[in-house]
Amino acid sequence: MTPQDAAAAPEAPVAEDPIKAQNAQVLALLTRLFGEGTFTDVHEPYGLLTATTTRERIHDIIAGLQQDQELKFHFLTTMCGINYPENPGKELGMIYHLHSMTKNIRLRLKIFFPLADPVVPTLTDLYNTANWMEREAYDFFGVIFTGHPNLIRILNVEDMDYHPMRKQYPVEDGTREDKTDLFFGR
């Protein structure tokens, strides 16, 4: 680097973080495709664009993203349930990870809904892989997927009568006293 270059360097525009730029593009496209206000709580933790939407729109949005010729989110990486007992009306959630392999873009979509009404549209008509993922979410969180061809438990026994990953079921047996920790309270 010559001295002139070194002097000029601070004035040159700072190269934008490519991931941030890409996420901004994707977000612009998302709002163009699905309208303003569809996505709330948009942020990018550790570079992965994350947005929250509603269960009424989720099927349309993922179908649209799958068919979109620019983004081509043809790969459903994973989906999982989540339980936030202290969010009234939004106790349960589903989190979808989509991946566009052609452009190497990942996208995380979240939906939240009440524990009393855990009904979500299925994605099995879009991705074959959604079948077992949704059965897993049903098994562990009790999320009901409307239109799922075979919504039965997958890893737990069929006659189990609760959904064990919900936060109301602690890992430790509450009646045990030999494991109480007086100093750390757990």
């Binding site: 933790p45 392999m101 995380r108 077992w132 075979n150 990953m165 890992v171």
Partner: protein, 420 residues
Amino acid sequence: MAVNDALAGTHKIQEEAAAQRPGQLMPILNDFSQELTTLNLGPTHPATHGIFQNILQMDGERIVSGVPTIGYIHRAFEKLAERKPFYQITTLTDRMNYCSSPINNLGWHMTVEKLLGVTVPKRAQYIRVIMMELARIADHLICNSILGVDTGAFTGFLYVFQEREKIYEIYEEVCGARLTTNMGRVGGMERDLSPAAIDKLRAWLKSFPAVMKEFENMFNRNRIFMDRVVNVGPISAEKALSYGFTGPNLRAAGVDYDVRAMNPYSSYEDFEFDIPVGTNGDTYDRFIVRNEEIWQSLRIINQALDKLPDGPYHADAPHYYLPTKPEVYKNMEALIYHFKIVMGEIDAPVGEVYHSVEGGNGELGFYLISDGGRTPYRLHFRRPCFIYYQAYPEMAVGTTLSDAIVILSSMNVIAGELDA
């Protein structure tokens, strides 16, 4: 009779499913189902390599439909992880894909490091690459040699199992364990590569290619083997993507997706390697892709060992990385950190992170949500074989029972990872 009752139930489910979505997802039973034989394949059949049950409907020797049952060794890892401090979760990851535990361990450490914002020194990254590629070779060796056993060739299995033993000896030098390795720590490796480990590694790198060559000579153009595997259980690239295939199974179908190349981690961008792809995604392609990946892994190990940089083998992250024992005995700060780490008194930052590594059989992902406590709020494992095993009935339908066994072993489904 119980099986028949259970099947009557599955028939009903299948018929309902078929009525809703004709020709999709679930195989349809035809009208002459009265003449079909029910075959309970598994859960403890020796040829199923783990606890897999498939209730098959057979028309003579042809499979008409199959209903897999999984969950026999479900151990609730995701629930258990919600009560364990981060360093204790490593031992859970061991027990997922136990044929390549180091990849799981190190992938988990990388996830936590991403959450904490810890940068690992180059030397530790290179050691990790070496260990992960060794694990990949061990994983592929098991899968391919067992595929040979299932087609009736036991010799190749014995040849390469000796080499896997040598890989395990290298693991022992690096971390002290063989199968459930618990290798590495958050922030680096637990100890540096010892001279003994490097000697063993160099000796193995010299001796292994000849054995691998012999293994390939025995199988790759073997008439009997090819008759058993060519065009057996093919899957198209579109179907494979829709079923969430990753790893060698997806690459055998012709999609060159490899996490190591697309989203490099742990300095994979420093190494030169090729990504082998197949054409029609059948059992033979899966076999050949795995064999070729073994050669590519050897290339990576050789490069990493030659370029192994000097320097520390762990990051300077005292909040997360255990201090050495002599320090703990002599130094107050080290003692405090030791106590806090072991008791799990270190709070992680709030955040959510998805990190994936190229596991032995596909994209192994860790989705970690931290609410700022000592344990994850939620930890989800993207287990590659749980996701692609659901394509098995579709791949097995229309083939014979002996082909179905071969397809199952070529998919490299590991029971521990399937059921988590």
